[in-house]
Each structure stands twice: as structure tokens, then as C-alpha cells.
Symmetry: C2
Subunit: 396 residues, 2 copies
């Protein structure tokens, strides 16, 4: 046996890589794609990405960048005009003054999470996350040797982490928190009072608050407030992937506390070099594409209204407050104790793709399905119709 064969048998991932969970939704996607490849029409209510192309002005800016720019490396923080435009966004929409010096253009919100977490926390630090919540948070924490602390954010907590629980964990040595509003998968939003209280509790305990605002501008009841309205010492993460419909372009941004800007800059130089140059130029045009983007949002709002109107009549009447993002998080415990099996059956028998809650909530996710409503109206209508028929045949 050669050395290579021997070590091949021994080769194992690191423990931290082993602690990272795969996404169940990816299995759903694979199954759905296999069904489509065999000619079955699948209604997509699982995907978390806006369909279609980025706005016309964004595409035009990308074309222009190919002609006019060499598209070499940029500053690690991103191109100055985009940083300035992002700073201006906070002044315009939130009345908050943010220096462009504190703005970092990142390779999607993904890179921003990594940079913020490394800059803020050392090995073994415990960091609060809402449960249910975006599963990549937990997994990135594991990868970076941090320990997730799940804060209750289900129906008992009114779908938002509570300041009292946060306070108790901070007193017990938790180092900070990474929280989104609106939330994927629930669509719930923190009220201004909740957000400011959570920020205050973390900061008064000497911790660091990271606010994921990727679903800002996709709200249907009231505007979401930025954590920057309550403190200059929070990290605020956002992206061009959701409202701005630029998923595959991998470009987002982060506002960084002044005292940590140098650390983040040096980390970014070493770990990312810069966000894709063409995407930075393209993103600069995204702020001027409001007409097209608001039209998209009107479609999401219509889809949302349709779901809120139709689902209760099918016996699915319990869901989180769908205040933002493009998700409806539905209690399916009247149908199943295993939402993964339910999602599989609905896909195979009704040809509707949905996401089981277990990706988002290791405790109670087996009782929930997430319906995404960012697909085209026809997809949502077809999905609802098929679901209604399937439920008539299969409901208990």
C-alpha cells in the first residue's frame, strides 16, 4: 500500500468543517431539478432569490465597465464612488450620517459575515443568533471557531429575540449577537423599540451587535429601521442580492464601527482582496433603478397577499407575521411531525417545491414549512392550486 493510499483512507475533514450542516433545501432543489429534467412542471416556492435579470441600468453599467475599465483589483474597501453612494443611502433613507470611510464593499453579505465575525470575536466566543434564523450564520460560526447561542425567536417570543434573554446571555459571558430584520425564514421584523433595546443590551454589556439588513426595502407593513440609528458601534451588513436582484453578482456592503475599520480593511486585503470589480460598477447603478425595483416589490406584495388570502382556507392558518423579505413561515404541525418528509411528498405528489423548517430551526423546524413568494405570479398561483388539491386529498 502506498503512502498516498494509506493517507487517503485516513483523510478526514476537520472537526469544525464536520460541524457545518448541509442545507436540506439543496436536496429539495436537486430533487426538483431532477423532476424538471424528466419533463415535470414544478412550481417554485422554495428559492430565496429573485428570478430574472438584474435591473436594466445595472446591466448597462456592467456593459459599460467592460468597455471602459480594465477591471483589475480595486481597493480592498471597494471603489470610492460606490462607498460614497452607500453612505448617501443612509442619509437619504434613514437620516443617519455614515462616513464613506466606514463603508466596505464586500463579496456579497457572505464575505461581510466572515469579516465582521473575525474582526469582532476570538476563538470560542459565544455569539447570539435568532432561532429560527438563516442557517449559514450557525455554520459560518462553526467554521470560524465561534459558538452559536440560539435565542428564542419563535411564536412564544413573538417571533423576535427578547431583550431579557439577550441580557441574561450577555451577563453569562456571551460576546455579542448577529441578528437579521426582516428575518429569513419568518419574514418577521424587529420593531424600532425591540431593535434599539437589543442593541443597547449588547453594547451596555460590552459586546458587539451585528445587524443583517439584507431584506431592507422588502417590507410590506412599515419601513425597516437600521441599527445605525441607535449606535455607531454596530456592524451593519447589507447586500445587492435581494431588493436589488443581483444575486449571482456577489456584491454587498458593510458599515463598520470606526475603531474596527483598520482591522477589517487588513482582513479584507488578505482574505478577499476585493469584491468583483465589474459587480462594484454594476451595483453603483442599482440605486438609480428604483422604478424597476419597486415594480418587482409590487409583484412580491401581490404574491404575499395571495398567500395570506388562500392558505388559511386550505387549513394552513398559522404563520409568522410576514412583514418583510419574501417568505411565509407556516406551522404545518396539523399535517406532520416531519416537515422534511412533508416537503418531499408535496414535491413528488403535488409538484410544488417548498423548504422544510429544519434548515432554519434545529429545535422546532420539523413543524414548519417556508414558502418563498419571490417567484413569478404564475408559479405562485399554480403552486397554491396544486397545494389546495393535494391538501384536500391528504389532510387529516
Amino acid at each position: 500500500m502506498s503512502a498516498s493510499e494509506r493517507s487517503g483512507q485516513e483523510l478526514r475533514p476537520s472537526q469544525r468543517a464536520g460541524a457545518v450542516d448541509p442545507f436540506i433545501v439543496m436536496d429539495v432543489l436537486r430533487d426538483a431539478q431532477a423532476m424538471e429534467a424528466s419533463g415535470v412542471d414544478v412550481a417554485h416556492m422554495e428559492v430565496g432569490q429573485p428570478g430574472g435579470k438584474a435591473p436594466r441600468k445595472v446591466l448597462e453599467a456592467a456593459r459599460r465597465a467592460i468597455e471602459e475599465d480594465d477591471l483589475g483589483y480595486t481597493e480592498a474597501r471597494g471603489i470610492a464612488p460606490l462607498r460614497e453612494r452607500i453612505a448617501q443611502y443612509y442619509a437619504e433613507r434613514h437620516g443617519v450620517a455614515v462616513s464613506p470611510q466606514r463603508v466596505f464593499v464586500t463579496t456579497g453579505s457572505s464575505a461581510a459575515f466572515t469579516l465582521a465575525l473575525i474582526a469582532a470575536f476570538d476563538t470560542g466566543a459565544r455569539v447570539g443568533l435568532a432561532n429560527p434564523g438563516y442557517p449559514a450564520y450557525r455554520n459560518i460560526l462553526h467554521a470560524l471557531n465561534l459558538k452559536p447561542v440560539l435565542l428564542e425567536a419563535g411564536p412564544q417570543a413573538g417571533w423576535a429575540p427578547q431583550a431579557e434573554e439577550m441580557s441574561a446571555h450577555m451577563a453569562a459571558g456571551m460576546k455579542g449577537a448577529l441578528l437579521a430584520s426582516p428575518v429569513n425564514p419568518t419574514g418577521a421584523m424587529l420593531s424600532r423599540e425591540e431593535l434599539s433595546a437589543l442593541v443597547r443590551v449588547v453594547e451596555e454589556a460590552g459586546g458587539i451587535y451585528i445587524s443583517d439588513e439584507i431584506y431592507h426595502r422588502l417590507t410590506y407593513t412599515e419601513e425597516a429601521e437600521t441599527a445605525l440609528a441607535y449606535s455607531d458601534n454596530v456592524f451593519v451588513i447589507n447586500s445587492f442580492s435581494k431588493y436589488y436582484a443581483m444575486t449571482g453578482w456577489r456584491v454587498g456592503w458593510m458599515v463598520v464601527p470606526e475603531a474596527l475599520c483598520r482591522a477589517v480593511e487588513v482582513l479584507a486585503q488578505n482574505m478577499f482582496i476585493n469584491a468583483p470589480t465589474i459587480s462594484q460598477y454594476a451595483a453603483l447603478a442599482a440605486f438609480d433603478a428604483t422604478d424597476e425595483l419597486e415594480e418587482r416589490k409590487r409583484q412580491y406584495a401581490e404574491n404575499r397577499a395571495l398567500l395570506l388570502r388562500e392558505l388559511p382556507g386550505m387549513g394552513l392558518a398559522e404563520f409568522a407575521p410576514a412583514e418583510g423579505a419574501f417568505y411565509l413561515y407556516c406551522d404545518v404541525s396539523s399535517l406532520t411531525t416531519d416537515s422534511v418528509a412533508l416537503a418531499r411528498r408535496i414535491l413528488r405528489e403535488a409538484h410544488v417545491a417548498t423548504t422544510p423548517g429544519v434548515d432554519f430551526d434545529p429545535v422546532n423546524g420539523h413543524r414548519y414549512l417556508r414558502f418563498s413568494y419571490c417567484a413569478a405570479r404564475a408559479d405562485i398561483e399554480a403552486g397554491l392550486e396544486r397545494l389546495a388539491r393535494w391538501l384536500q386529498r391528504n389532510a387529516p
Copy 2:
């Protein structure tokens, strides 16, 4: 004093972020840009990126992708045709069979380093690096809670880490190594014998070898061999940034040991989602742009020949074997014991930008300057002429 003001004063980067060194070369770049902004012509022999645009075929593919594709998320591993084309590259150039299943398209080589290091190593693991070497290796290791072990790769070691030293460190518990060939900053290459011996030593000790092959195809004496020729259990990292001249596009690739593919896929889903979609389609055309890329390489080779001919006559006769990449690593100890101060003086007085060795070698870097020769011929000629005049006036 408010809570926010109080915590603001206390806000400090994590210890691991504090262990990450800034690049001195960035200060040189900033100074050079400031001089240019004030109207001074600077000869650029500091930058490590090919000038100008990506190849025409790459730009054409990017334009086509904007028209024909939605540019949404892709599989975390990257688009299938690109993974297949990369696998084919190993068959064609190296006669090595690599399954496309083992190929991951990454957000530049930067993302590949992060993914490989997390998948392979747990907190506190010691990982061997060549010294001198690419400074981001050390810094990414610190950020990920890994400990760099510097392997001697200066003139005493024949400019390559030696198997004996590697073996001794592995026996003392080192978990693996991350080594490049050709090397930035020295241009030195591992011979086939050296490379195969290093891979064998690491694997026989149960460790993991990560081979950075980003400067492959930029060699001037003989072709570089891939570590995949010696083992299927190595990570091999490459990029479209150097030979293929696509720096700002942020797209590279990694070949992963089969046993770690699933771990890397799940990490990539969580930490990166996918490499920029437009860059993946653009990169697919890079393999067909050989005419243009070989013409670029001929220009580098001419610049290299010019440096090798002219520098010795100026009293700079000691340098690492410039077998690959586009760097010449020059011993300047006859002029200075402080290469940072020397680089500053040469920039200010001779208007030539170079990189001091301290970025690459914390031990002996104060005795070296790195000259990059990927700029245009005119830049290199002007730089050499100014350097010659400055040395006549200032040499001891």
C-alpha cells in the same frame, strides 16, 4: 456618557484580527498614487497584477453572459462546463486524470485558501509556510486560528523548503503545509523531485499538503509540475488572475481530495454561496485565449531578460532564481539594512515603485526588494534607467 460612547471607547478588534499584518506594499502604492496625483511620472515595478484588460475572448464571453444568462446563483461548486474544462486542463497539460467532481470554482484563490484551510485543519493546528512567501498565507492562518510555521526557503535552503526540515516539523506535530511553486516573491520553483518529496513527507506523516499553483504557465526555464501528479490527496489551488489576466474578476479554482469534497461543498455553500456568475462564464473562455495570453507571457519574458541583463551592472547581482511568476527578488544588503526605507527613497527620489521584502519575510526581508516585471516594457525600461542613475549617485 452614553452606553454607546462608553462601549465605543472599549471597542477593540479581536486578538486574531490584531495578529494580521497590514501589507507594506499598500503604503508604497498609496505613496506612488499620491505622487502621480501631483503630476509625477512613476515607473511601476511594485504591482503584482497584469496590466490592461482580460483577453478579448473573455470579455466577449462576459458580454454574452449579460445578454443570455440571468446571472443568478450557481451551484456552490461552480458551473458544470467550467469544472469540466478545468478537469480537462489537467489531462491536457499534465496527463493527470481529475474528475470534475473534485473541481471547485472559487472566488479567486483567496476563497480557495479559506475553504481548504478550514476543511483541513482545526483550531491551533500548525501549518508550514515557505519563508519568504506570500504574506496573505500567514494572515489568513491567523484569522482562522491556525499557527504558521515558517520553513526556510531563502538562499541557504536553495530558495525551496527542504524535505528534511518539513519532516522534522511533521514529526513534531505540524498538521500540513501550504506551499506555492513558482513562489511570490522569489520566482523560484520547486523541482519535480523537491515537490514530490515534500508531498510524500507530508502525506506519510498523515498531514495535508496544499499546493498553490497560481503562477503556473508563467515559467521561463521549464514547465511547472502540478502536485496532483504525485498524489490525489492534495489540495491544488489555482486562479484566473495571473496567467489569464483576470485579477478583478475574482475567479479561481481548487482541486479537492475526494474524501473532503463534501465538507468543502458545504463550507462553500455557507461561506461564499458561489463565485461571481459572470466571472465563471467569462473564465470558461480563458482557456481558448492562448494566443493573446502567450503574447503577454512573451512580454513578461522580455522584461525579465532585461532585468537579468541590466541589474548586475548596477551592483544588484544577487537574486533568487527567477524561474517563474513575474518577480525578481533582489538582495539589496549592499545598499541598506532597511529595505522599507530604501523603497521609500527610491520612490521619492528616483520615481520607481518597488516592494520591500519585509512583507514576504519577517526575518530577512529587510535585506530584499521585489521587482515586479508584469508592467509594460516602457515602464520597466524607464524604471531601470532611473534606478541606474539613482544608484550611481547613492551607492556606497
